[in-house]
Point group: C3
Chain length 348, copies 3
Amino acid sequence: MSRERTLAELASITGGTVVGDGDIIIHRVAPIDEATAGEITFLTNPRYAKYLDRCQASAVIVGQGGAAAQAGSAPVAFLEVADPYIAFAKILQLFSSPVALSQSRSSQSTLDPTSVLADGVTIFPYAYIGARSKVGSRSALYPGVFVGADVEIGADCVLHPNVVVRDGCRVGNRVILHAGVVIGSDGFGYAGHGDGRVKIPQIGIVVVEDDVEIGANTTVDRATLGQTVIRRGAKIDNLVQIAHNVTIGEHSVVAAQAGIAGSTKVGKHVTIAGQVGIVNHIEIGDGAVIGPQSGIPKSVPPGVILSGGIAAAPHHEWLKVMTLLPQLPKLWASVRSLERQISQLLNK
Amino acid sequence: MSRERTLAELASITGGTVVGDGDIIIHRVAPIDEATAGEITFLTNPRYAKYLDRCQASAVIVGQGGAAAQAGSAPVAFLEVADPYIAFAKILQLFSSPVALSQSRSSQSTLDPTSVLADGVTIFPYAYIGARSKVGSRSALYPGVFVGADVEIGADCVLHPNVVVRDGCRVGNRVILHAGVVIGSDGFGYAGHGDGRVKIPQIGIVVVEDDVEIGANTTVDRATLGQTVIRRGAKIDNLVQIAHNVTIGEHSVVAAQAGIAGSTKVGKHVTIAGQVGIVNHIEIGDGAVIGPQSGIPKSVPPGVILSGGIAAAPHHEWLKVMTLLPQLPKLWASVRSLERQISQLLNK
Amino acid sequence: MSRERTLAELASITGGTVVGDGDIIIHRVAPIDEATAGEITFLTNPRYAKYLDRCQASAVIVGQGGAAAQAGSAPVAFLEVADPYIAFAKILQLFSSPVALSQSRSSQSTLDPTSVLADGVTIFPYAYIGARSKVGSRSALYPGVFVGADVEIGADCVLHPNVVVRDGCRVGNRVILHAGVVIGSDGFGYAGHGDGRVKIPQIGIVVVEDDVEIGANTTVDRATLGQTVIRRGAKIDNLVQIAHNVTIGEHSVVAAQAGIAGSTKVGKHVTIAGQVGIVNHIEIGDGAVIGPQSGIPKSVPPGVILSGGIAAAPHHEWLKVMTLLPQLPKLWASVRSLERQISQLLNK
């Protein structure tokens, strides 16, 4: 947060245009209702336009033509860009200080003699790396991280505290695993029933490709045979369950508490909202969008937008609806019967 | 569990009245169907009244007039109180031995030289405290706890094993964080799509106020800018997701596996049941009650009681309902058509 | 993965019959669409029969009569068994190398002097065992495992990294606790409201019986008084919530992200699918089957099959359904009114 830039420099970095004084000095990003002098803010959600009048920021990031639309509403400069949200993200990255890492290995960590660490790796206390595992350049393993045997972690990864990556799993470059993530736990597989139930060994692995980010306490099970795969650029939120042999396609996004059952293939650029449940052995087509709390019992074609969540209603009204819902077949039959009777009456 | 009290003493502590022998010695609390001599039990749920006849307890906590209502049903003494459940909790606290803590710092922990620990703090092995962080009097950090840099933890807190509190977050006094809780993981924020997707740095913090308790493996994301806030006295159960910039109001209660999306403000004294999902950027009014598995797509006024969960039905009947549900618009149209036809017939 | 067996030996081990050459050497198990020479595969799901034609495996596990049914489709041998999935599991176990454990205690672990470890126990670095706790023969505690005071862990257990078992809890033999599991966190219990809210001490324990497996980051709360119990042979998936005083019966199966509220008793051989929510203080009868995302608001008789999940629909159609659903009582009234009017017309 220690750097300073002129508004003109920020325009250059974001491919935008200054409307106002390009020499204004900006040193921080802040929300529209909190920003003060020297700070830049952004207007992406029209609901927040009402704050512009009282806005104390030195500049506001807006879309093309946004300055004219807001002209006169506030004595500030504008930075017009194609996508204000991307510009906001880039400027925020510019002003955010990355965490300084020691690039050294704590003497209180445990590194198997056969493990291989590249240059610039940071190993915090109480991290553990098993036999033959490799960690790429500049990656960081925070306290309590467990890396099993025969694991590969790429370069520039961050494994936050208490992340677990079990034997044989592979993690690409620039991957962020948030605190408590478990990669490579056994898939939930048994054959038979009762006392005769047999655990199916889960001898496959998990492959997490480049530029993936996985949220806190999310679990990704290893494959029974073969691989569970999180493809390049996929973003997964907190407390998500990814079962064995699932594939999450490139650049797909999975929101918090969603669950994807075994062997299901999720395509590229798919959006899965919070608390969605997807059954096993199906395919979700590229670009599909699935709304919150939806249940997905069968394959979904590419590009469709599905919903299944129910909006909560006042409790007493909902009780009536819930009493009638199971009687929908009876209601349907009543209507069909009425149609027949009326038809008879009309024919008379 | 080692102390003894007379029933009269328990009456004094709970503001209640003895019906029976106040000199009876009580040394423990037990469930109504398991209690034996020397134990006190409680009757708060009428479903358990049937156990009174065979109850072996020396005394029973009941509501006002409860002794008369149960007279003759069992040869026990009664402790009549305004709220039997609160009296039960207080008496249980009285007989529960708090865990004895060493109030010392394990040599197998890692405390940054710039961190500041108050008197009586207990640091277990493999706990880690980063630069400039502070821990208040008598707080305990169990094994595997990670406290980042610039964190403040108040007095009399318990951070159970493997809790993570990341950089800059603030935790008040008398806060209990159960095992595996993650405070301050990055919010789930990106701009753009596909290969052009940009991570939005999450540079805000989490503030957990006094007397909050957070359940095992729950995740609370740090704000993009500003603060995610869990206000005084809020109680949050296991496996809950609290997204970036959310506020949970004073004394609100959130049950297990609920999820609250980004920037949503939950008011005071709100009750959110298990597996509820709440969308982003809305407000839940003070005192609202939201039933289990409900989806909340828009703001909720204060004091309302909402439900949205569906009771499961026999599978084959439910299949029929599920087939008809998407045809509800067609059914509605049929009914409207019938109404027109009848109206015509009646007009003849 | 280093052993070799003839197909005839595999038939003997699984109680099956060879159709083809019993002398074929098998050294591995692989999926039907990936298997090559020297590997055995399996056909349990008819959807995968199409792969038989191009199958490169040396043998295929099929059901009784399965060889004849597939005759001519592929130049491979068959192993006919009563239950191909169980045979698959057993052969996979045969070829899977168990992880080699050191059977030693890391000097970087913390074992209370009063704790008792049986022969062959493996303690990894950064594991912690509290006062008076016992660990049975050949059990393994991976890095970051926390075992509190007065805990009993049986023989041949595996506690994966960062598992937490709090004070007083008991774990049977051959139990597998996956990474991040929390056993014995406080139940979610309070009396009163607002500033007067009182925490109810959770002084009971959790009992996990023999042959239980619990998935990554699942939480099992300790009882208020008495015990939360996971009975023999139960299998619980990832991110499941088991509240205080719950009982899960013998050999029952609970899929990912399900939640079971306080004091509910789940019977034997029950199947609970993913994301199911079950309220508190009810009973689920033996052998009941509960479909994905179902809500269970009241007790369930033995043996019934319940569903409650809603299949997602195209977003715009679903919006219409959602608008009409709360008006179901009005629709019902309209139909009743129509019935009366028609009845009058017919009586004329």
